[in-house]
């Protein structure tokens, strides 16, 4: 499995979208750190202020809103970009000519899928660390303000992406088509937002069966929107909205990936 992982990783980042992700992962932290270094000022009493616009504001206040925005951005733009970048990793090895070659080797098919899944997840984790984590570490290092909550928020973003990747892996076994995987990722991402706010729509829905159906879909599917909200709330208030969001999404990620492995193992190539 390690051989699969080590080969899938460079394959991922050598694709165009992968290169964009790598490029942004290098550019974004550089710009961010540059901005911080220009706007941060150490006062004689040892505290820090940030010059954002015409006024200076205490660094704690600025960080809360800036890092919260970063988490929201990471959970939308970066996740959607990563869906584009990682979808081919789940399909190319199952395409005709390549699948026969790979699956005739001395390893189990689920090892191949899992190796490539982990490569996709690692690519996103590394990109996320560079884009968001490195600037946060810079702030931590220069101001001494710890960023544990921000990194926990990044962890929740990673879990959210892992659940999407698991769903894409499951679909890839049923239909080998990278474009379809991208669509499935996007639809789930959007649908999760809809399901998270379904209560507001219930006044418009006259059928109880549809409400029950939507409730069950919400229980079963990953709670991507909920996790995003939980991450920003935890960053700003230090309270965790609901553990239920976390473990149900984790269970979905594991179950979908396990189902993908079993189906691939049984598939006729």
């Amino acid at each position: 499995m390690m051989a699969i992982f080590l080969r899938a990783f460079p394959e991922l980042i050598s694709r165009r979208v992968g290169m964009v992700l790598v490029g942004l992962a290098l550019l974004m932290p550089a710009l961010h750190i540059y901005g911080w270094s220009r706007s941060l000022e150490r006062l004689p009493d040892g505290s820090f202020v940030v010059h954002a616009g015409p006024t200076a504001m205490p660094v704690h206040d600025f960080l809360r809103s800036d890092l919260s925005n970063q988490l929201t951005f990471a959970h939308t733009f970066w996740v959607l970009l990563a869906i584009f970048a990682t979808a081919p990793a789940l399909t190319t090895f199952q395409e005709r000519g390549w699948a026969e070659l790979l699956f005739s080797k001395g390893l189990r098919r689920w090892e191949v899928l899992l190796g490539r899944y982990l490569a996709g997840l690692t690519a996103f984790a590394v990109a996320l660390f560079f884009i968001c984590g490195v600037p946060a570490l810079y702030v931590w290092w220069t101001t001494g303000i710890t960023q544990y909550r921000f990194f926990t928020g990044l962890g929740l973003t990673l879990l959210s992406f892992a659940s999407l990747l698991s769903l894409m892996a499951l679909v890839s076994v049923l239909q080998v088509n990278a474009a379809l995987l991208v669509m499935v990722g996007f639809v789930q991402f959007t649908f999760a937002r809809f399901l998270a706010t379904r209560g507001e729509l219930y006044v418009l829905i006259p059928w109880d069966w549809l409400k029950t159906l939507l409730d069950w879909l919400y229980y079963l599917l990953p709670k991507n929107a909920g996790l995003q909200r939980a991450a920003t709330t935890y960053l700003t208030t230090a309270t965790f909205v609901s553990w239920w969001l976390l473990w149900t999404t984790a269970v979905f990620a594991v179950a979908a990936l396990a189902a993908a492995c079993v189906l691939l193992q049984r598939k006729n190539i």
Binding site: I4, W98, E100, L102, K105, G106, I269
Partner: protein, 322 residues
């Protein structure tokens, strides 16, 4: 030869390939009739032979190979390779495979690709480093520092062969190994197959070029609509037709009348004629008459049917002439 980098317990002494009543039925989709790709296929391939699998397109050859590699699950029946279940990855570490419609990772170069393929078969790094130049030389692949996307079709085919040899397999499945190769390279591949056989390897060859099968295979099998219709040695299929090509130093009126007195009127094409004597005695009588003319006999060659002719007769349903 010892296993390379692997210490796999494959059943010693077991046939290389063995199937018993193998069936494979595909169900294309709702409302579509099931497709029977394999029907009761029973074969046994001993170790150290080159086995040719023949059949028209869609006869079930690729399905059979896939079933033997654990790529597809048979609907009924059993298959064993090297005495093990083909679905067992440990058994597959002793197998090399060159698929027909192979797709290689274009962004890679030959050496990392071969490292990758070897690693997937559990070959350790040190052995891979030693083995890569060996297999590249064996398949005569030049310029391995290029990216695979820059390779010609023939080079890609050679690389496909090289990856199949990376784990020094006991059993090789080769699907059209000479596809896309020039005549010289085809000869090199045939020589390689013979070398591998001499080293005790078993080769399961799926080929359309029947002259090649005829040249290298010890055994062959013809599949028709998923069923085994003929199996045996290629020499058993390339029978004598009872005809000969007679070539003389010169053809004179005396020669004409001598030959006609034994076999009736013959159609001469220059100094040669196709003859079909009734039996050996008549053939000898003809030779005696010609020598008495006198005329020198340059050659007398028996005409044999080719494997291709036999294959066409079997596939079209015409029974071969006895």
């Amino acid at each position: 030869m010892a296993a390379v980098g692997t210490n796999t317990p494959v059943a010693a002494g077991a046939p290389a390939v063995e199937t018993a009543g193998l069936w494979k039925t595909y169900r294309p989709g709702l409302g579509q009739a099931p497709v029977r790709a394999l029907r009761d296929v029973t074969i046994r391939v001993e170790r150290g032979v080159i086995f040719g699998l023949l059949g028209q397109n869609g006869a079930g050859k690729t399905t059979l190979v896939k079933a033997l590699l654990g790529l597809t699950r048979p609907t009924a029946g059993a298959a064993r390779v090297l005495g093990c279940d083909p679905a067992d990855p440990v058994a597959r570490r002793r197998i090399g495979y060159l698929p027909e419609a192979m797709r290689l990772p274009e962004f890679m170069k030959a050496e990392p690709f071969l490292h990758y393929m070897g690693a997937l078969n559990g070959v350790d790094r040190a052995t891979r480093k030693r083995r890569i130049p060996e297999v590249l030389e064996r398949v005569d692949l030049q310029a391995p520092r290029k990216q695979i996307k820059e390779y010609s079709k023939g080079m890609q085919q050679r690389l496909g062969l090289a990856q199949a040899l990376m784990n020094d397999p006991d059993l090789l499945f080769l699907d059209e190994p000479t596809e896309g190769l020039d005549p010289l390279a085809r000869k090199q591949v045939r020589d390689l197959l013979l070398e591998l056989r001499a080293a005790g390897k078993t080769i399961f060859l799926n080929a359309h070029v029947l002259s090649e099968v005829e040249q290298v295979c010890d055994q062959c099998l013809i599949l028709k609509q998923g069923q085994v219709v003929r199996s045996g040695k290629p020499s058993e299929f390339t029978r004598k037709t009872g005809e000969y090509i007679l070539t003389l130093a010169q053809v004179t009126d005396a020669v004409h009348s001598a030959a006609q007195s034994v076999l009736g009127p013959l159609r001469w094409e220059g100094p040669s004629a196709h003859i079909k004597p009734r039996d050996r005695a008549q053939l000898n009588e003809l030779i005696d008459r010609l020598r008495a003319v006198p005329v020198e006999i340059e050659s007398l060659e028996p005409v044999k049917s080719t494997l291709e002719e036999f294959f066409i007769e079997v596939i079209t349903g015409k029974e071969p002439r006895e």
